[in-house]
Amino acid sequence: MSILKEEFNVAKMDFVTAGEASAQIKRILKKLGVDAGVVRRLSIACYEAEINLVIHSDGGTLSLEVNPDDVVLISKDIGPGIPDIELAMSEGYSTASDDVRMMGFGAGMGLANMARNADKFRIESKVGEGTLIEMIFNLKQEA
């Protein structure tokens, strides 16, 4: 049984509210008393996922599920999908536009940052359909 479930909509190219969902998720986890190190790793990964929804996707959602043993964060969007996931995962690769790069986004480190900070990272994508990223953060030290 999960302790808490929340879903946040993230709009395409909305730079004013970009980061709000991550900030809210961070506040929720802190309030629940989740370990500061986990909150930190999750916040970084969540922010990267949120920015990707803003700059690369046609819109999507971030969902948070807090369980007794772990926190699950899912980023799901409605397209356009990623043609070559392996390439997208490699650090430095980015298809971000010049405008977006001028704002300091598009370093090509987002997916790698997510994979590094999550305890489990899974990505699925289909061109024309969308991208789904599932990240799991353990709350209890593994035996």
Binding site: F15, M109, N113
Partner: protein
């Protein structure tokens, strides 16, 4: 040192009048947000020429002490207000990032 003390050191103004008593734990200079997201830490004083809302989002997620805007670059009031709301100081100085780093290092503010 505090943000107010840091302001004096780098000839800066506290642009949003907030969080001047925050403790500065280390310094960092970078304009790529993902990079800062990966390397940021709490209490950090972050120098960047970026001035849009997402700078505050990154600083806030890391619970930084302040953002330092070099070379007299203007910052929109909306961004300053958001930073104040998040408890993050925004400093503005005429010095460039290189000179700011030099002064901070000389005063003993360490790297991240």
């Amino acid at each position: 040192m505090t943000v107010n003390e840091l302001a004096k050191l780098i000839d800066a103004r506290l642009l949003n009048g907030a969080a001047g008593e925050n403790e500065v734990k280390c310094g960092y200079a970078c304009d790529l947000l993902s990079w800062v997201m990966a390397h940021g830490s709490d209490g950090m004083a972050w120098i960047t020429v970026q001035t849009h809302m997402n700078v505050i989002a990154v600083a806030s997620l890391h619970e930084m002490s302040c953002v330092i805007i070099p070379e007299g670059i203007a910052v929109e009031q909306e961004v300053l207000d958001k930073a104040a709301e998040e408890g993050i100081a925004v400093l503005g100085t005429q010095l460039d990032a290189y000179r700011i780093c030099g002064k901070m290092a000389e005063a003993g503010v360490g790297a991240a």
